[in-house]
């Protein structure tokens, strides 16, 4: 049984590495494998070197990190909420992050770093507003996770309305930028954005994996959790905040990449993984593979025109999801 599980890890890792290699090798411009290998080592044609090292590599890495963050976040949330339809964007993170970015756009902030920071702050802000709303609504001292989820949805809806009002009077330029962002894209990946997302994913994702065992207990129900000595209230909030932070990081780096957080945990559970520590890790690997593959499709299918990444992930993810649902029912 143990060996069987190990085989899954190798399978997932190999899939990710293979997809990543194809993604570095292929793009809008056809380059031979030899040229790509030379360029990776910094040899040969400077244009090829620039394309492989400064465009494709950071883009593939950013896609992998975004997918990993969304997958892990979704797996943790679905476990903590005991709801297979939970996903990171339901927490209001996406809406909050978008509000942050649009506010930055509209007050004339132009640097990438500032926009990333503003959207991250917006996402985190939305999570805390959701927490406050759920506390205001709860009559008992124990905050209900389902109340938290609904609070997140409401905060998200309010944020979306605010964005629409802000964009209605904005310059076409701003609208286009915001639209692009809301469809998700890894096109602006730079080594710097990869570095920051790597750091935040490592820290927040590591914490989520560390506390993932609590989610196993939560999944048994709050009363059982309490009888096992786990403070369900705190554990639930912790899973909620960590998942939201992971998702906020991905949103600020690549905009809204839909369906990954919803679909990927189902695929991971389909592999027979039940405990949340391995589940979160497996969902991270599968999410990374899915987003790298989707981004490869986004930039090659209709080249030189790029397709929106979020639409491709939905197109790839929804059939998986439906197959999975059939198998469960």
């Amino acid at each position: 049984m143990k060996q069987f599980r190990n085989a899954y890890w190798w399978l997932l890792l190999t899939a990710l590495v293979l997809v990543a290699m194809v993604a570095v090798a292929r793009g809008a411009l056809p380059l031979s494998i030899a040229t790509v290998l030379d360029a990776l080592r910094g040899r040969g044609d400077p244009t090829a070197i620039a394309i492989v090292r400064d465009l494709r590599l950071p883009r593939v890495l950013l896609g992998a990190l975004v997918g990993a963050g969304l997958g892990a976040s979704g797996a943790a949330l679905q476990g903590a909420l005991r709801n297979a339809l939970a996903e990171p964007y339901l927490l209001g993170v996406s809406g909050g992050a978008a509000v942050g970015a649009v506010i930055a756009f509209s007050i004339g902030v132009t640097t990438d770093a500032a926009i990333t920071l503003a959207s991250f702050a917006g996402g985190v802000g939305a999570v805390f507003v959701a927490l406050a709303v759920s506390r205001a609504g709860g009559r008992t001292s124990r905050a209900d996770l389902r109340t938290l989820l609904i609070a997140g949805v409401i905060v998200g809806a309010f944020a979306n309305a605010a964005i629409m009002v802000a964009l209605a009077g904005a310059q076409p330029n701003t609208v286009r930028g915001a639209l692009w962002w809301m469809m998700g894209s890894a096109a602006d990946a730079t080594w710097r954005s990869v570095f920051w997302l790597f750091l935040s994913t490592l820290v927040v994702g590591g914490a989520l994996v560390y506390w993932a065992r609590e989610i196993d207990v939560l999944a048994l129900g709050e009363d059982t959790a309490a009888s096992l000595g786990v403070d369900a209230d705190r554990a639930g909030k912790r899973a909620f905040i960590l998942s939201a932070l992971l998702a906020a990081g991905t949103v600020s780096a690549a905009g809204l990449v839909g369906f990954v957080g919803l679909v990927v945990p189902h695929i991971a559970r389909g592999l027979g993984i039940r405990a949340h520590r391995p589940l979160v890790l497996a969902a991270a690997l599968i999410g990374a593979t899915l987003v790298v593959a989707a981004d490869l499709a986004a930039r090659t299918v209709a080249a030189p025109t790029e397709l929106p990444l979020g639409a491709i992930t939905a197109l790839l993810g929804v059939p998986f999801f439906l197959i999975q649902l059939r198998r469960l029912s």
Binding site: G27, A28, L29, P46, T47, A50, I51, D54, L55, R56, F105, T110, D112, A168, G169, Q171, P172, N173, T174, R176, G177, W180, A187, D188, R299, A303, P304, T305, E306
Partner: protein, 295 residues
């Protein structure tokens, strides 16, 4: 005003020498509309990617069409532009596809959307020129920069002279005539019109009309149908598709000009590009607003 800007510009680039003795090194540099420095190399660029329909037209007009190795999918004039490889969009261009054309000069529109791409072209060592050409004055400015970079300022000046004299001729012909109030229909859903930040507003003025939405300060802006009816324009300008909608959609009956058939169909490839055919565009608009005023 326009002439002075061009003259000032020519002066600015001529007094910015960049002493350097390598033959491949630039002789001079200038600042583009992103505030970045653009090299004017000793030898004219031979592989140019133009990601803006207006600059593509200009390059063909000053005889550099054969140097183009890439354009956007919207660059359809002149006809020979269609033979240049298409590289996708001009806003948020596909950086890999553009670099793959191995350009020694990339020209793109200076909007916020294009900043990351411009930065990447520069990082890859490609000379990059970002130009914001929203006004008629920007046409002269842009083409003189292109002339300087291509070492053919004389030809660029000829084009400027011919366009400015045509514009002046149209402005003279329409001076003192009755100025109809004009609404320019750009897009239907949402309804978008031209503001005073656009060369199209300037074209209306030169052609002897007044833009009813000159109070919009940007190049364009969203409006409502009721407000169009309230402002009650004498004429509606629209492209062939927009004009079809205005004539067939019953909602437009609340606008007097639409009701009485005062809808003028314009050639969007001609009048919606701030480029070498600005003069022609002004003539055609003037003749639509004041039939027979220019022969």
């Amino acid at each position: 005003m326009f002439f002075r800007r061009v003259a000032l510009f020519a002066f600015a680039i001529s007094v910015a020498p960049f002493a350097c003795d390598k033959s491949s090194a630039p002789t001079r540099v200038l600042r583009d509309d992103f505030g970045d420095s653009v090299a004017i190399p000793r030898s004219a660029p031979t592989r140019i990617v133009s990601l803006n329909p207006a600059t593509t037209e200009m390059l063909f007009t000053i005889g550099a069409g054969s140097r183009l190795v890439g354009r956007t999918k919207y660059d359809l004039y002149p006809d020979s532009a269609r033979l240049v490889p298409e590289l996708g969009d001009g806003l948020r261009p596909n950086v890999e596809a553009v670099l793959g054309a191995r350009p020694d000069l990339v020209i793109l529109y200076a909007s916020q959307d294009n900043r990351p791409a411009a930065r990447r072209f520069r990082a890859a060592g490609v000379n990059t020129l970002a130009i914001k050409n929203d006004h008629i004055a920007d046409f002269g400015r842009t083409i003189s920069i292109l002339g300087a970079i291509l070492h053919d300022s004389a030809r660029a000046q000829t084009v400027i002279d011919s366009v400015t004299s045509t514009l002046a001729r149209v402005a003279n012909a329409t001076r003192g005539t009755e100025r109809p109030r004009v609404f320019w229909h750009i897009w239907d859903a949402p309804l978008i019109t031209v503001g005073s930040g656009s060369f199209m507003d300037e074209l209306i003025n030169i052609a002897g009309g007044n833009n009813v939405y000159a109070d919009i300060t940007g190049p364009s802006g969203p409006i409502t149908l009721e407000d169009v009816a309230r402002r009650d324009p004498d004429f509606i300008l629209a492209g062939p598709i927009g004009a079809g909608t205005i004539k067939s959609d019953p909602r437009w009956r609340i606008v007097r000009a639409a009701r009485s058939g005062k809808v003028l169909v314009v050639d969007t490839l001609l009048v919606a590009r701030p480029s070498v055919r600005l003069g022609e565009a002004a003539i055609s608009l003037a003749n639509q607003l004041h039939p027979g005023i220019i022969r």
